[in-house]
């Protein structure tokens, strides 16, 4: 669990919609995905389509509906117990014009890419 997570608050999405930060429970109707940090090295990961953990948000599994999201979150508890991941939570995701998923909040977009002050580091550098 990140020490900075508690600082997350309201964010403005690219679509101009004021969204509640997704760090702890997102809006009911939005598209949702699950993110966490890998325990062994802290890398940001997402629950993938096949049930495994992937590093690219584009490969994340997404669901809509509050109940589906809650069920998806509950389904990763065994991975927490097995020490594969730490601190899983739901995030809002949106599909871009290219059809690829990305985080709805600025925080999650930064988290998915890497530091904004060092573009040569993080996943953005590997793309």
């Amino acid at each position: 669990m990140s020490e900075t997570e508690s600082k997350s608050g309201k964010r403005t999405t690219e679509e101009g919609v004021l969204a509640i930060s997704t760090a702890r429970g997102a809006r009911g109707g939005a598209l949702k995905a699950i993110t966490a940090n890998r325990l062994v090295d802290g890398v940001v990961v997402y629950l993938g389509e096949g049930g495994g953990w992937v590093e690219a948000i584009e490969a994340a599994r997404s669901v809509s509906g509050k109940d589906e999201a809650a069920a998806l979150l509950a389904s990763v508890e065994p991975d927490v117990a097995a020490c594969r991941i730490v601190g899983p939570y739901l995030i809002d995701v949106v599909a871009g014009s290219d059809g690829k998923l990305r985080g709805a909040s600025e925080r999650e977009r930064i988290r998915a890419l890497g530091p904004t002050v060092r573009l040569d580091l993080g996943k953005q550098a590997e793309a």
Partner: protein, 340 residues
């Protein structure tokens, strides 16, 4: 520079071994994240936005060449080839793997460094003027005072669970290069009219979401009372600081809410009660170390000082809108030069 004695080496090595065992237990699932989190934070290891982050203390910003090389070695071997030196004289590694952190701590211990008290609600790394020992306006080297506080505050049982983190900075000069005015306790070395050297103590400064300038709680504190007076301040803070709201838990909020007069009254009352039983610093131990600050002024040093004393710097904005720094060196023996 402070050198570890046998006790220090043994203690730090034991802490590394302890943490190695804790990491192994976490990775095996014996410890949950809730159980492990306070343990890793006590060793300076955070889990942040992109990865783990390890914060290593550089006491009062002083590093030997051997330590600097080891920091670089750690960056190359365990991280992405760099570290981030912070404004509070720590270095942060932004991409270490959890499994590697015990080895990193062992490498740090090999050069008498550690990451203890770089997180948590305790007294953090003591910082000092970056020009300590070399500044022309210095009354006394602030690192002596900083080292005394470092030793006193390391693993202090009474002040390991304060309402919130606690930061101390020391400057030996009138110019506040150590930013003491924005620390929980700021200490400035001052000279009284009779020539005696002591400390001006500021309290309740800070930055963050509620920036405040520290207030002088004592204009002149004789050196020997440094620790007992700090103890009195921390005791008052420990008792009256808020623990119900982390955003109002820093000492600056307490000082602001009760007022500096009332805060001073409480501290002085506490100080009177403990002064007789607290540690008093022997004058010889809290004075300038001869081999640090009383070096003979060699001819080339005298020349350098003359040059340095006539260096002026201007920070401004160029016509293109970019920030610029102009440095002008004037020395009677040489033509004036300006560097941009």
């Amino acid at each position: 520079m402070y050198r570890y004695d046998e006790f220090d080496h043994t203690f730090v090595a034991q802490r590394v071994a302890q943490f190695r065992d804790q990491v192994a237990r976490r990775l095996s699932g014996e410890l949950t994240e809730d159980e492990f989190r306070p343990l890793r934070l006590m060793n300076g290891l955070y889990l942040q936005l992109h990865a783990y982050m390890l914060r290593v203390a550089v006491p009062y910003g002083t590093l030997s060449a051997r330590q600097m090389r080891q920091l670089a070695h750690i960056a190359r071997r365990y991280d992405k080839g760099y570290g981030h030196f912070t404004t509070r004289q720590n270095i942060q590694y932004n991409w270490p793997a959890l499994k590697d952190t015990p080895d990193i701590l062992m490498d740090l211990a090999d050069v008498e460094m550690h990451a203890l008290q770089t997180s948590g609600n305790c007294i953090r790394n003591v910082t000092a003027d970056q020009y300590a020992g070399a500044a022309a306006d210095e009354i006394e080297d602030p690192r002596i005072c900083a080292e005394v506080i470092r030793q006193w505050s390391s693993l202090h049982p009474e002040f390991s669970f304060l309402p919130r983190k606690f930061k101390v900075a020391v400057t030996g000069a009138p110019a506040d290069r150590a930013a003491i005015a924005v620390h929980d306790i700021g200490i400035r070395v001052v000279r009284a009219e009779d020539g005696a050297i002591g400390y001006e103590i500021l309290v309740g400064g800070g930055q963050g979401r509620t920036p405040m300038i520290g207030k002088t709680i004592r204009a002149f504190l004789p050196k020997r009372y440094l620790l007992s007076y700090m103890e009195a301040i921390l005791r008052v803070y420990n008792e009256f600081g808020r623990r119900d709201n982390m955003f109002k838990a820093r000492i600056k909020i307490l000082v602001h809410e009760v007022g500096i007069e009332e805060f001073r009254r409480r501290v002085e009352e506490e100080w009177e009660a403990i002064r007789g039983t607290s540690v008093e610093l022997p004058e010889a131990r809290c004075s300038v170390s001869p081999h640090i600050s009383r070096r003979p002024l060699l001819p080339h040093c005298q020349r350098s000082r003359r040059i340095l004393s006539s260096v002026s710097a201007l920070i401004g904005r160029s016509p293109a809108g970019r920030a610029s720094i102009s440095i002008r060196i004037s020395n009677p023996a040489m033509p004036s030069s300006t560097f941009r």
